[in-house]
């Protein structure tokens, strides 16, 4: 006998197809919500900033006069911050990932570290700010300088870099390692000559995405006591600095006093978004160019 009755199938087919259609629309709607929010946000920000972004805005220093104010200070602050964050996260993040993937014995200790790295990624950024304030700004007496901010930010995005570098290293096929070991290469020679070159695009993608998160972070820097009104530009990692998201934050607050500050905030947001968009594009290009090589 047959278990599936053709007539029954025919009868129920209609409602099954309706449900199928409904599911498709529902999920499209869910996608649309995010998209609409993004468009509205963009529209508001861009319309507010029209007429405010020009070459002078990018190259002028801060001023209480909205017409003359620029974000040169915030841009150079962001630049110096990244100069600290990038090498530190790269070296510590990739180093940790290499240890966990290539050297650490799979066991409780490794699992313990792994869980804690995931937990660390979930710690609110303001907590990292408190850590930075306690250890770097006060403990080591650095003050609210680029180095203190950079170290704090590096710790904040480190888990992201570790996890993405681990994934990139894990994606390097074992047969490439075998080929290297099979010729008498040591572990380090294998890592240096085979694993890292193959994993590098994935690692770079992770580092860039982590940096773009660090560029947009505000809370930890507020806790560190990074000033909003800063006239001199930073010249090195031991100088005081400010960054774009902080500038946005304070201009938004002060918009209650001077209405034009809202336009300055909007203009800064656009600059920041363009920068983030560029960085993410680079990450995507690297990923697409080098993926699926084996």
């Amino acid at each position: 006998m047959k278990y599936i009755d053709a007539e029954q199938v025919q009868k129920k087919l209609g409602s099954r197809l309706v449900l199928n259609n409904l599911a498709k629309r529902l999920f499209f709607l869910a996608t649309l919500v995010g998209l609409v929010v993004l468009v509205i946000l963009f529209y508001r920000v861009v319309t507010d900033s029209i007429g405010w972004i020009d070459f002078d805005f990018l190259t002028s220093k801060l001023s209480t006069d909205a017409e003359r104010a620029g974000i040169m200070g915030a841009i150079s602050g962001t630049f110096w911050l990244m100069l600290v964050v990038a090498p530190i996260t790269f070296i510590l993040g990739v180093g940790t990932a290499i240890y966990l993937e290539e050297y650490a014995k799979k066991g409780r200790f490794q699992a313990f570290i792994q869980i804690n790295i995931s937990n660390l990624a979930g710690v609110p950024s303001i907590v990292f700010g408190l850590l930075g304030l306690t250890v770097f700004v006060r403990g080591l007496g650095m003050g609210a300088v680029v180095l203190a901010g950079g170290l704090t930010m590096a710790l904040l995005v480190l888990p992201v870099v570790v996890v993405s570098a681990q994934e990139a290293i894990r994606a390097v096929p074992q047969f490439l390692r075998d080929a290297s070991y099979g010729m008498g290469a040591t572990k380090w020679q294998t890592i240096k000559n085979v694993v890292l070159p193959a994993a590098l695009p994935g690692i770079l993608t992770g580092v860039i995405l982590a940096l773009s998160r660090a560029i947009g972070e505000t809370a930890p820097l507020v806790v560190l006591g990074i000033p909003a009104l800063l006239l001199p530009l930073p010249d090195g990692i031991f100088d005081k600095f400010t960054v774009m998201p902080l500038q946005i934050y304070y201009w938004t607050i002060d918009a209650a006093l001077v209405a034009e500050y809202a336009n300055l905030a909007a203009a800064t947001i656009v600059v920041l978004l363009v920068l983030l968009f560029l960085m993410n594009s680079v990450a995507i290009i690297i990923r697409n160019k080098f993926q699926k090589r084996y």
């Binding site: 490439l176 080929a179 099979g182 010729m183 008498g184």
Partner: protein
């Protein structure tokens, strides 16, 4: 990896069917295993293996899937150690030195005992850099010497003429058969004494397979070759000695002619006539 070295006096040396092999005074022994046992966790994959591999010969390892033949040759260059749960006991003498001793450095062993893997596994680098990889990790930096090694190795693997005009192109652009010969050339570049081949033709088409087989015949003049193969005709065609593995044991080890014409063990006969496996 834990290495348990038993008292050398109490190993069992005789394996059925080795009698005709012993008569080899003119050829020196490259590898000798004594009571070699290997466990993956709780599962014993090799059981008391006693084999002798002779210089300038092709030794074929045959047997059904899961019989331990791949495990066996990976033990000879200690690649099996890369699996964390492996335990080995017994002795493996390579040129009369026990390679399972802690003091024997794997890096040194693998410079003498090269390997070609089942799936062609060139590095995603240029053909030149693939071949120069081994010499470079062993410290050769001189461009002229590297050039010579690359050419010699590629000629040795009979692929020089096909790639000499594109040495700096990525090895991934080659066909599977060519890639496997690149891997063989890469292995020759470390100037090994023994070449282990783990089913080197199982991923290749018949013509590429034939090329590798011809190469093996050519290479045994200078190297000792141990080849694992699923293909019994291949073993019969290219090897001097054949070992038949079953369930982690060596059922029979003898001259290839003898194994394929007049096997002493019923199980060998059943396997080579295709009654199982």
């Amino acid at each position: 990896m834990t290495v348990i070295t038993p008292n050398k006096n109490n190993f069992v040396s005789d394996v059925s069917g080795t009698s005709s092999v012993h008569n080899q005074a003119d050829k020196s022994t490259v590898f000798q295993t004594k009571d070699l046992n290997l466990w993956y966790g709780e599962d014993q994959a090799l059981k008391s293996i006693n084999l002798e591999i002779y210089e300038n010969e092709v030794t074929a390892i045959i047997g059904p899937s899961g019989c331990g033949k791949s495990t066996f040759i990976k033990t000879l260059n200690r690649m099996v150690e890369l699996i964390p749960v492996v335990k080995v006991s017994g002795d493996i003498l390579y040129r009369e030195k026990n390679i399972l001793e802690k003091s024997y450095k794997v890096e040194n062993l693998r410079t003498h005992v090269g390997m070609v893997f089942q799936k062609p596994n060139p590095f995603p680098k240029s053909i030149y850099d693939n071949i120069a990889y081994g010499p470079r990790i062993h410290g050769i930096r001189n461009k002229k010497i590297l050039d010579e090694i690359v050419e010699k190795s590629l000629r040795g693997a009979a692929i020089w003429d096909e790639v000499k005009d594109r040495l700096h192109e990525n090895a991934y652009g080659l066909s599977g058969g060519q890639q496997q010969r690149i891997c063989l050339a890469r292995c020759l570049a470390i100037e090994p004494d023994v070449i282990l081949m783990d089913e080197p033709t199982s991923a290749l088409d018949p013509i590429s397979t034939l090329k590798i087989e011809e190469l093996v015949q050519e290479l045994k003049k200078d190297y000792s070759i141990i080849i694992v193969t699923h293909n019994m005709q291949q073993a019969a065609r290219i090897s001097d000695k054949t070992a038949f593995f079953l369930n982690g044991e060596v059922v029979e080890f003898d001259n290839t002619n003898k194994i394929f014409s007049n096997p002493s063990d019923k199980r060998t006969e059943d396997y080579i006539t295709g009654r199982f496996g």
